[in-house]
Symmetry: C2
Subunit: 347 residues, 2 copies
DNA sequence: GATTAGCACTCACCGAGGAAGAGTGCTAAC
DNA sequence: GTTAGCACTCTTCCTCGGTGAGTGCTAATC
């Protein structure tokens, strides 16, 4: 869409003023607050054009204009001024995160809190996907018929779960299972394990008929475990901030919104776009109908340049895009750096 | 407080009608809906007395009466009719829980969902406190200078964490440490481990001077781990249900309430009364000022008759107490039974 | 003496009506 | 092409009277 410079300035003024005040912007306001050197009447004419183009709209006849989704999109793509994060903010973020780096879930939770605090919006943080290799498998004795399976993954995480092994499997046999895994499978992606592993083990064990049935059963359950821990958890932070937004003064809207917040699957989907890097989804561009008055800024972070998770902020379409983008961007970089440092492995 | 039978009947009618309708109850309503055999005028006189006693109050002059906190308390203590849970409900609860019994956090989360669904209120579920014994300790190799410590607790939970062990500790030495622990300490309460363990290990190892320093360091960190995992997580479910309650039509109240919901520490405190069994906290009886219009029904559940956690429901003071109590009560019993069955150990 | 009918009074709630104010669109002049 | 002027629209806010639910009091009744 090609629009002339003065229209751009006016659109920019409308978006910025509306972001700041949450009130429809009138022609007089623009001519007073922003120095365009033209009278309100001229601005009115331009606004009429902008409305025809679908970039702004009028809540009712005698009100000012507010940006449409398309208007925000144009603003974000072409008009927005870049914002620098203050050194203070940067320091705060870096320091706060690095003091919390013990457990991955603590990092995630705190990252979320931090983002929502700095942006005054709601934060979404997706745990690194553990669609990655299990490096090593250990079995430990538990109780009759059960064993503790400890999995070391190549992102440094350690998971354990109790698996049923049946009564007639001996510790030695379990050890064989672990050995086979550690020798042959180490580094296999979890989702590939199901097929590959089963074939391998089958070959290896075909001599030892007696064990076979039991162990195949264990494998079935193990693979379930692998998949279960595969899911990155999603952390929601600062949901309350939404209640301070004037667009959520309506209780029904709050209900709808929080309904989405309670469904972690939906939240995951919101962050789960395929492309890497920064992504901005404005209003009706969101998959979720309920979020038609919200925008989401999200970005991916990396560990060892490979596994990825994402973080995002969710706010009303009328959010301070440039600030939010800057913060999300900085946060992903800082997270990538720290997590990579933490989980750098010789392998 | 001694009040005559007719006053009791009237108070009961007021509470029940108010619970059902959320509207102040007038004298005419009572005389029509409940068969007391007296005219509205008589009821009015009685109501006037009840108000003087502080059991009911009047929102404004020309409105009916609503129960005060003291009124609810009297109702709960003396007037309430017991409710039987329908067989359907029972079956539903039992079935739903037992299909989910794999991971403790799944049980907790699902229990919460179930309670909030059945009561249409908000549920709080406190994980079993793991202020309990570590039965067994294992060490597994991780990377240079670190080891995976796997702890089996006597409530059946398995926890793992990566501990720094320093470069010059050999796997064999770690094994010794584990052996010492498993022989001497097994079953010691986590909070007692710090002192006892240190003394024991010190004696055991005083011969092997070289190892001592390193191992003492590990112990320090281990003990931190023990304490860290001590905290039971709290699960919140059905927070949205509160938004359907007419008392939370006011956005500011919602904000305050959700503020509490976001602080898991406060939620824990709400469930953390010392006495076992059922506990009812009405309105201003709550520690948390913000919850002065809410009541909490909570009860403790047990595993192996020892470790305890609790579950609760939170709703407006105008909640259906007898139903809520019945459900919470049934739920704790059913949870106790199932968890005890699951975690029954020969030890 | 307890109960009740009758009645005046209070007060929240609701909808109508009207004034104020913000903002527009149009027209005519610059 | 730009702007001043003006009529017009529409929301917001306030006021005001009517309505209805419910009370408290008084006097009559059981």
């Amino acid at each position: 869409m090609q629009i002339d410079e003065r229209k751009q300035k006016i659109l920019k003024a409308i978006v910025q003023d509306y972001i700041a005040t949450a009130e429809p912007v009138g022609s007089r306001t623009i001519s007073k607050k922003f120095e365009l050197g033209v009278s309100p009447a001229t601005i009115r004419n331009e606004m009429s054009d902008l409305e025809e183009m679908g970039l702004i709209e009028q809540p009712h006849t005698s009100a000012g204009r507010i940006p449409s989704d398309a208007g925000y999109r144009y603003y974000v793509d072409y008009l927005m001024d870049p914002v620098q994060l203050s050194e203070d903010d940067k320091k705060k973020i870096n320091k706060e995160i690095s003091t919390r780096l013990n457990e991955i879930h603590e990092v995630m939770e705190y990252t979320g809190k931090l983002i929502s605090q700095v942006t005054c919006l709601t934060s979404l943080v997706l745990e690194p996907k553990t669609k990655n290799s299990v490096l090593k498998l250990h079995f430990l004795p538990y109780e009759e018929g059960k064993a503790i399976m400890v999995m070391v993954k190549d992102n440094g995480k350690v998971e354990n779960s109790v698996v049923d092994i049946g009564e007639d499997i001996t510790p030695e046999e379990l050890q064989i299972l672990a050995n086979i895994f550690n020798e042959k499978m180490s580094g296999t992606k979890a989702q590939d394990i199901k097929t590959v592993l089963l074939r391998e083990i089958y070959g290896e064990l075909s001599r030892k008929r007696r064990m076979l049935d039991g162990i195949l059963g264990i494998l079935g359950r193990m693979v379930n475990e692998f998949e279960e821990v595969d899911e990155g958890k999603v952390y929601l932070g600062g949901a309350l901030n939404m209640l301070n937004q004037p667009e959520f003064r309506d209780l029904d809207k709050v209900k709808d919104l929080f309904q989405v917040f309670e469904e972690s699957n939906k939240l995951k989907e919101l962050l789960n776009h395929d492309q890497q890097g920064l992504n901005i989804s404005i209003g009706s561009e969101n998959i979720e109908q309920v979020l038609k008055d919200c925008s989401i800024i999200s970005a991916t972070y990396h560990i060892n340049g490979k596994q990825i998770g994402s973080i995002g902020v969710l706010g009303p379409t009328r959010m301070d895009y440039s600030r939010a983008i800057t913060i999300v961007d900085y946060m992903t970089k800082s997270l990538t750096e720290m997590l990579t440092k933490k989980y750098r492995r010789t392998k």
